[in-house]
């Protein structure tokens, strides 16, 4: 049975038919990549997706280009929310495909660079529908080589400034890629609350605007088009940061088809739906609204999509619960100040555990700790852990939040094992991956 309302998803695509030499080469690269991934798993070094992709990219340098060709692709990108939104959209597609779900491939593990995507696609050579989490830097290549049908642009905010010096740079690369694709470009589902996303999306042949009621506007003071100071209207429940407009040029917040209103989502027909997600937080309602917009482009009605969404509870380990060192821990991943600002209100336990690292994957500069309102934790006890626990401890002292430092992750969790359970924990990328492993979740 298939629940697709019209012919949108029933049209089958044929993943690129390769020349025989290319096919042999790719197959060999895939096989050797599989062996490397298997070895990596046996050695307990993670899922093996990255190593498989690296091997493949080495042996068949255009593996990415070959594997994305000819598929029907929906891509999800942005600073925060990529993994969860990808899982939601994939779940909606799976629900709509019913018995045909093997047509779907997705990079569910969050490996979203060229080789992560190539790795996921290589595992399903005949799957003609791909829902791909895509790193912000890879979007340009994916548009050029994979010609996605749908592209979800979630948001832009400061992140890993030690390597992304200018936030606008990535927005410009999206805009240029969309401009280059012209009429062949994807339908873009874009967050109209975000001026840089809006500016980038303008070059798409069709845009579905989603008002996400986002609360982070700290990276959107200037107009991405002309550099003028953006005006903002009074804050309201519907617009926590006010609606934005550039007084110096024509860029202005577009009228949205989908809107987050409190805990509900307003659909284009005016109907309000309660998503009742299994993943927590207002930001995930925003992610769901974007996923609804994308699903609709493939003819998946809102009710089918929402049924799919409700099967998603711990995308790539996010929001999962694990038992580590005798403590039952609810694991939240946050990578940057916008993410932390959204996650802190989710913490309900006392004590809470916060884990900070600063290797390349986390961003080497942790000054952003001072852009997060840790003051809201006053009255609770915080265990500061991870290699940059001292930075966090100093931050909490100046926020007058009670805390202690336990550098070792395992010892920090051991410390909270005797208290009330579960214990809420937020971690940056590297400690989060370590915790998933310690909890047997990967």
């Amino acid at each position: 049975m298939t629940l697709v309302t019209d012919s949108e998803l029933s049209r089958r695509a044929a993943p690129a038919d390769l020349a025989s030499t290319e096919r042999v080469r790719l197959r060999a690269a895939t096989w050797i990549g599989d062996v490397a991934a298997w070895a990596s798993r046996r050695l307990g070094r993670g899922s093996g997706a990255s190593i498989r992709g690296q091997v493949m990219t080495k042996l068949a340098p255009d593996a990415f280009g070959q594997l994305v060709r000819g598929r029907r692709i929906a891509s999800v990108t942005g600073t925060n929310g990529k993994t969860t939104t990808t899982h939601l959209l994939a779940a909606a597609v799976r629900e709509a495909l019913g018995g045909d779900a093997r047509r779907l491939v997705t990079n569910a593990d969050g490996a979203n660079l060229h080789y992560g995507i190539a790795s996921a696609l290589s595992t399903a050579p005949r799957a003609d529908i791909a829902v791909l989490e895509t790193d912000e830097r890879v979007v340009k290549d994916l548009i050029a080589k994979g010609r996605p049908e749908v592209l979800v642009l979630l948001n832009f905010s400061r992140d890993q400034l030690d390597r992304n010096h200018e936030i606008k740079f990535l927005g410009r690369s999206w805009r240029e890629a969309l401009e280059a694709a012209g009429e062949d470009g994807p339908v873009v589902v874009a967050n109209s609350d975000d001026p840089l996303v809006t500016w980038a999306a303008q070059k798409a042949p069709k845009v579905v605007w989603v008002d996400t009621a986002s609360t982070w506007s700290a990276d959107a003071a200037l107009c991405p088009n002309c550099g003028g100071m953006l005006d903002r209207t009074e804050r309201s429940a519907e617009h926590p940061t006010g609606a934005w407009d550039c007084p110096d040029c024509e860029l202005t917040e577009p009228q949205a088809s989908y809107a987050v209103i409190g805990d509900q989502i307003r659909l284009p027909d005016g109907r309000l739906v309660d998503p009742q997600l299994k993943v927590p937080g207002k930001f995930n309602i925003a992610n769901a609204a974007c996923a609804l917009g994308a699903a609709a482009e493939w003819g998946i009605d809102a009710d089918t999509a929402l049924t799919g969404f409700r099967t998603v509870s711990a995308p790539a380990g996010r929001f999962s619960t694990a038992t580590i060192e005798g403590a039952t821990v609810r694991l939240v991943l946050s990578k940057n100040p916008a993410g932390w600002s959204e996650s802190l209100p989710l913490l309900v336990s006392d004590p809470v555990v916060l884990a900070i690292d600063s290797v390349a994957a986390d961003g080497k500069d942790v000054s952003w700790l001072w852009d997060v309102e840790f003051e809201q934790l006053a009255g609770r006890h915080v265990i500061c852990t991870g290699p940059r626990a001292y930075d966090l401890a100093v931050r909490l002292s100046y926020a007058e939040v009670d805390h202690e430092i336990i550098l070792d992750l395992g010892q920090a969790l051991h410390r909270v094992a005797d208290g009330p359970q579960p214990v809420d924990l937020i971690a940056t990328y590297t400690p989060f991956q370590k915790l998933l492993k310690m909890g047997g979740l990967r």
């Binding site: 400034l161 390597r163 700290a218 003071a221 100071m229 080497k364 700790l369 852009d371 001292y390 930075d391």
Partner: protein
């Protein structure tokens, strides 16, 4: 105390002062000490607003009332601030900030009245005579508060930085932070370097870091730099209030721990 410091007793109080001058306050009035954080939405992408939080708490913990006034574009910059703060941001934001600050005038009035300006990274650059923006190196006029000029350097300076700062009493202390800047800054005769680079790039790979001219201090490190270096924070406050401040026991252990951890990290990785 930081791990690498020379004297056992920091910041000796001036013996000539009346006893009570060592503690509070904002003499003359009971008004709280005003710390003015300028244009967070333009010059606030690197967490430098933490400098305001640190200064305020370090006053309050000493029993000195303090307030942080956040000024955004379109709002007047108060001229009665004791400390003005500028932080890091992107090129376009720099140009906008200069234009607005010149039109407003409040910062200049405040400085004429004896206030301190502490400026970081992009904020430091705009205090100079000129700086450049964009890939075409367009030259922009700065606020003219520091005798420095900034142009795009041969490489971007990104990473932990460690410098040695000579304090007013002649002893030295390490300043630790994270630098992230494409512009390289050259000092003219009116400005003196804030510190000597031990590890990192600093102003222009020439061994100097930051600039001081009167009560205007410019420096590159984030961290935020005053959270990493409480003695520098207290120096800024001493300059602003014109009093010596006794050392503050609060948070000292954690500051020491953080400074030791960062200094070790830099030495391990250089």
């Amino acid at each position: 105390m930081s791990p690498d410091e020379s004297p056992a007793v920091p910041t000796p109080a001036d013996a000539d002062r009346p006893e009570d001058a060592a503690l509070p306050s904002n003499p003359a009035t009971d008004k709280p000490v005003k710390i003015v954080l300028i244009y967070q939405s333009l010059l606030g992408i690197y967490g430098d607003q933490g400098n305001a939080k640190v200064l305020r708490k370090r006053l309050e913990w000493r029993g000195i009332p303090a307030e942080v006034v956040l000024v955004e574009p379109g709002e007047p910059v108060p001229s009665d601030g004791s400390v003005y703060l500028l932080g890091g941001g992107e090129d376009n934001a720099q140009t906008t900030a200069v234009r607005l600050l010149k039109a407003d005038g409040g910062l200049f009035e405040g400085l004429a009245g004896g206030a301190v300006l502490f400026a970081v990274c992009a904020g430091y650059q705009i205090c100079g005579k000129t700086f450049t923006i964009g890939e075409n190196d367009a030259v922009r006029e700065g606020l003219g508060l520091l005798d420095v000029t900034t142009v795009r350097g041969p490489e971007r300076a990104v990473g932990e930085i460690l410098t040695r700062w000579t304090k007013p009493d002649g002893t030295t202390s390490l300043i630790s932070g994270f630098e992230n800047h494409g512009g390289w800054t050259t000092l003219g005769p009116e400005a003196t370097p804030l510190a000597r680079v031990e590890s990192g790039i600093g102003n222009a790979g020439d061994g100097t870091e930051g600039a001081v001219q009167g009560k205007v201090i410019g420096t590159y490190p984030h961290g935020p730099v005053l959270a990493r270096n409480p003695e520098l924070a207290d120096h800024v406050l001493s300059l602003a209030l014109d009093v010596e401040l006794a050392p503050l026991p609060q948070v000292q252990d954690e500051h020491d721990g953080l400074r030791r951890e960062r200094a070790d990290f830099v030495r391990r990785h250089r």
